[in-house]
């Protein structure tokens, strides 16, 4: 006997986990969580849990990689073996290498690299639990870690995925929606500059759906941006500046 296929979205627009179509999972964002690094951040989006740390600016190694007029950015997105269902073999996969590149280029769009000639800035993103939306949560945490390190940036870069599930555009797809849905589109932005820094699409969208998805992503990004700003401001709650001697 064949079971009726379970629907991911009900008639009245509710998702399996109870969220509305334009609702994101619960989010927690903290800055300055790892003491050894120059800047760090932690993010939880639902069960996705990620640390990001920044080291630098520091001497570029090997020295011939150094640029005389600006800093170089290195980025490593990596997942712990236990972060996924089953167990991921240790070592970098092709997926991790690709995501490291797109995240680096997203951040290169906002870091004022000319401030630190001949040096390197290293960004490490460690996914300790992956439950959809890790690359966008990774960019969100990494840009906050850069700000925490006091590295000049044009803007923070919050990111979120949007998806198409059973013909409907949804914000922040869950792992199940990501797997069974028709499309998944991670987006990260520099919100104050109203500009996109990361954009990928896996799946198919009609042009009207693409526009709708982008606008929905922007809505989520604005919420994350406020949470990032709060995490940063927290450190200055009762700060009183002192004049130079």
């Amino acid at each position: 006997m064949e079971k009726a296929e379970q629907r991911l979205i009900t008639e009245d627009g509710r998702r399996v986990d109870g969220r509305g179509l334009d609702e994101m999972r619960p989010v927690k964002i903290e800055a300055g969580v790892l003491d050894r690094s120059d800047g760090s951040a932690y993010i939880e989006m639902g069960k996705t849990k990620i640390y990001a740390a920044v080291y630098g600016p520091k001497e570029a190694h090997p020295r011939h990689l150094a640029q005389p007029h600006k800093a170089i950015l290195n980025c490593r997105y990596h997942m712990a073996s236990f972060s996924v269902e089953g167990r991921k073999a240790p070592g970098m996969t092709r997926r991790e290498i690709e995501l490291s590149k797109v995240i680096r280029q997203a951040l290169e769009s906002v870091v004022i690299l000319e401030e630190f000639p001949r040096s390197a800035i290293d960004i490490f993103i460690e996914v300790i639990q992956a439950d959809a939306g890790t690359r966008t949560a990774g960019v969100t945490a990494a840009s906050l870690a850069l700000a925490d390190a006091g590295i000049p940036i044009l803007d923070l870069c919050p990111g979120i995925a949007v998806g198409k599930v059973e013909g409907r555009i949804v914000l922040d797809p869950s792992e199940e929606e990501d797997k069974k849905g028709e499309a998944d589109m991670p987006v990260a932005m520099a919100p104050r500059l109203d500009s996109i820094v990361l954009l990928q699409l896996n799946g198919r969208l009609r042009s009207e759906e693409f526009r709708e998805a982008l606008l929905l992503a922007k809505k989520g990004i604005n919420v994350l941006y406020e949470l990032q700003r709060k995490a940063l401001s927290k450190k200055f709650a009762s700060f009183s500046p002192m004049d130079e001697e």
């Binding site: 050894r36 690094s37 740390a53 236990f82």
Partner: protein
């Protein structure tokens, strides 16, 4: 506590200062020679694992995750389940760690954790055999150093043991010669003991426990002792170059045994065990 420079260059004045303090029975962060830093143990933090733990030892932060699956036993132990330990010194934890595959220090850490668990007979490996010689439970323990301020051995063992002790694994049964998942609720691993390790640093014949990263740059050498229970050592690793005077070995054993018992009490509280189960 103090990070000097961007790289692990020991400075002469700090080496001299640490030495001067330790000779007086004092330390830079106010601890006495045989004091551990503050320990925090949190368990069940990664839902996708069977067991997990996050341990903070002062400024050192380590996460361990346990996953299990069915697999074949090793040919020389057909009636025992398998343990596989992997450790990584993540570059986000320290400017001293490089990205890339596990280096000799990471592999040493994994193997010391493995020995503490395996040689102490912490797990009753014979109870996780379903079909002798063919199907057993494979227990993967993955250890990641997230923030590093010296001494990764002791928190790595604490995190691994806490993750194992709180793990909930699926129940399997043998049906028609095949191992299948049972409908029974998840169960605990067969735990017999709670091994802990104690890391000792030596300056001449002076002993300190739980050295920080800065102290590690000043000590002459270091030794890790894994204690399986009250009065039994199950793993030892002299993990740095340098000389250990034969005369201090008695004191090393005495101090590490005493500290191991303290750590074990702390660990068992954290995993909600008051006594060792038979």
């Amino acid at each position: 506590m103090y990070r000097i420079g961007t790289k692990p260059y020991p400075t002469k004045i700090m080496h001299d200062k640490l030495y001067e303090l330790i000779l007086r029975g004092e330390r830079l962060d106010g601890r006495r020679p045989y004091d551990y830093r503050t320990i925090e143990i949190k368990t069940s933090i990664i839902e996708k694992t069977d067991g997990s733990a996050l341990v903070n030892l002062g400024g050192t932060k380590i996460i361990a995750g346990v996953k299990t699956s069915l697999g074949q036993p090793y040919p020389d132990t057909p009636e025992q389940g398998n343990i596989v330990v992997n450790a990584e010194l993540l570059p986000l934890a320290s400017s001293f760690f490089e990205p890339g595959p596990p280096d000799e220090k990471a592999i040493e850490l994994a193997r010391v954790v493995d020995r503490c668990i395996r040689e102490s007979k912490m797990l009753d490996l014979e109870k996780i055999v379903y079909i002798p010689g063919r199907t057993v439970l494979v227990v993967y323990i993955d250890v990641y150093v997230l923030d590093y301020d010296g001494n990764y051995f002791d928190p790595a063992v604490l995190a691994s043991v806490a993750a194992l002790a709180t793990a909930k694994i699926p129940v399997y049964e043998v049906r028609d010669g095949e191992v299948v998942l049972s409908h029974e609720a998840k169960t605990s691993l067969p735990i017999r003991r709670f091994p802990v390790s104690v890391t000792i640093g030596l300056l001449g014949d002076k002993i300190i426990v739980d050295p920080t990263s800065l102290e590690e740059s000043a000590i002459d050498t270091s030794i890790v002792l894994g204690w399986s229970q009250e009065d039994e050592v199950a793993a030892i690793q002299k993990n740095l170059q340098g000389l250990i005077s034969f005369n201090v070995m008695d004191e090393i054993i005495r101090v590490s045994k005493e500290k191991a018992n303290e750590l074990r009490t702390r660990l068992m509280e954290a995993v909600g065990r008051v006594g060792i189960e038979p």
